[in-house]
Symmetry: C2
């Protein structure tokens, strides 16, 4: 059994079926499945259906409360706070994003924070919600502590992530979706397998020293923040805007997705929307974004560089391709999903 | 003549006198002088009185319009756009920040963008304006194009900068103030003098290839964005939120401070304020920020690390020290300021 490609719609139906059996309401199951497939379609497989088994495990164990209904804790003209009640991160974040968009529609700008939430998948999914409505969207989340502050050697900050989506005119939108870690663990594991050194900016060994040895990194080491102390600062800032400001979990109070599956993970988010025509006519903005995209793409290139991209462009092209070709699933993931489906009585589409 | 230390108040009076002779209104002269001294006090000497001579040159040549009065172009409950009329960046940015704070006081959150502005000095100066009023502040600016998008070898983005200030309880505020470039040119020039190699993530040579040779960097090379393509994305995002959204200059339309001193530089900014008690009681927030600061500081340390800092802590301590000891000025800068003062009929305090 090797890699196969599965049509996104079939994979979504499979996820939907699983989430239904796991107790999610139909609309919540649909939203969560759509969020996972969004990531797979855009080539961000780390946030796609690979997360279905752990989501299932947490729904069964209680770490995700399938009966949660997000509550608005307090509300102002351009600000609100949501209590996710320890349910699906996707559900709470979408309530927050839609509320931010509605408020920004009236006042120009709004921020909605979320406490008592969980892993919410790909950040860009929420940030992009305002694009069709002439809005710039932002979604950020904290995560269980896996990075140290600069100079440290213990996990005190998550690989906190941020996405911002900006509508363009004739070009695809600009979508910056980035974690604050220098690299994903997967790349370090790959270097181990291939017996390659890693750049010394990627990871720390267990003593907190930068290392170019992937084995030293994997042996109780930590990922470094991207870009040194600036990445540390941005990660801390996301934790403040999400965890601290919302009254939710932050720093060591947050648990990773894979720790204590029976216990809420105390993840917090923040979502924001900005209505472009509160500043200038939307058509002007579209034309200006097209121009800045053109200025990036047309920049003369360094040796060996074939093309210059703007953020989100590669994901956009992957989405177009995978919408036709399907989502590639490796053998191990197929087997894992098949077993889960069998347990839940949902037939896998491969 | 060697380095001397000058009391901040005396240096401020000198700047104030110069700006008055250069045609700024008293309040604008005071604000701009205060902004330069703020940077020097905090140890950010690159944005301090070292800029006075070029500011004077632009005020005389017309690149800074000394008679400008910032105008509100459009206004909504939580959003506004300011036209800086090509005057002092400090003046336009402060109008924007105060308007954002006033609006956030009513609605919870506000964003005010600025077009037709100029160099505004240290970003943290504006971001910190809301601290005493229970607000998180943000100030960002674009700048003349000196960085390439990832893969490029021409300046298409400025070393765009961002500051965010967060009030704490018993600790100093968290103040993240960062440019999106990997390093300041000054550090590359220093490596040249000392015949040291530089990390390959700092600069590109004139062909757009990363280089560890500071001479190759200085010979028509470019600074790299910090943290690779993530820094590029953040720099582009700042240009969109400042230059594109405001209807002002962006990318190659912006000029650096030292280019064409007789022509407005088309710099744009964006300022934002968030009222903390729209989300949770301010006292709770203060306690929670103190806790996260404590969690960073108390993290076990890597070998050779004496202390872990949070953003803004070093600058805060420098400010306390320099408030007592004065601002260090090297011989060359003393001479430059003395000459300027003599031209303007303002006596230098050293």
């Amino acid at each position: 059994m090797s890699e196969t490609k599965v049509p996104a719609a079939e994979l979504a139906t499979f996820c939907l079926g699983c989430f239904g059996r796991l107790g999610l309401a139909p609309e919540e199951a649909r939203l969560t499945a759509d969020n996972l497939l969004f990531a797979n379609l855009r080539g961000v497989d780390s946030h796609g259906v690979i997360r279905l088994p752990i989501y299932a495990q947490r729904l069964r164990a209680g770490g995700f409360n399938s009966k949660a209904r997000p509550q608005v804790v307090c509300e102002h003209e351009s600000a609100a706070l949501i209590d996710g009640q320890h349910g699906m991160g996707q559900v709470a974040a979408m309530v927050a994003m839609e509320l931010a968009i509605a408020k920004a529609g009236k006042t120009g700008v709004a921020v909605v924070s979320v406490k008592n939430s969980n892993h919410f998948g790909a950040s860009a999914y929420y940030a992009m919600r305002g694009l069709e409505r002439g809005m710039i969207g932002l979604a950020a989340t904290n995560a269980g502590p896996t990075m140290a502050p600069t100079g440290g050697r213990e996990g005190r900050l998550g690989n906190n992530a941020l996405a911002v989506a900006v509508p363009a005119g004739s070009h695809p939108p600009i979508v910056l979706d980035m974690a604050t870690g220098a690299v994903a663990w997967g790349k370090i594991f790959l270097a181990q397998q291939e017996k390659r050194k890693i750049p010394p900016t990627w990871a720390l060994d267990k003593n907190g020293s930068p290392t170019d040895d992937p084995n030293a990194a994997a042996d109780q080491g930590l990922i470094q923040p991207f870009g040194g102390y600036k990445g540390y600062g941005l990660s801390l800032l996301i934790d403040i805007l999400a965890g601290v400001l919302s009254g939710g979990g932050f720093s060591t109070h947050v648990r990773t997705l894979y720790q204590k599956v029976e216990t809420p993970s105390q993840v917090a988010h923040t979502c924001a929307a900005l209505r472009i025509d509160a500043f200038l006519p939307l058509a002007d903005f579209h034309q200006r974004v097209d121009e800045i995209i053109g200025l990036m793409r047309s920049c003369s290139r360094a040796p060996g560089v074939e093309r210059i991209f703007v953020p989100g462009e590669i994901e956009h092209e992957t989405q177009r391709r995978r919408s036709v070709e399907g989502i590639p699933l490796n053998a191990a993931l197929q087997e894992e999903l098949r077993v889960l489906g069998a347990e839940l009585g949902v037939k896998a589409p491969f």
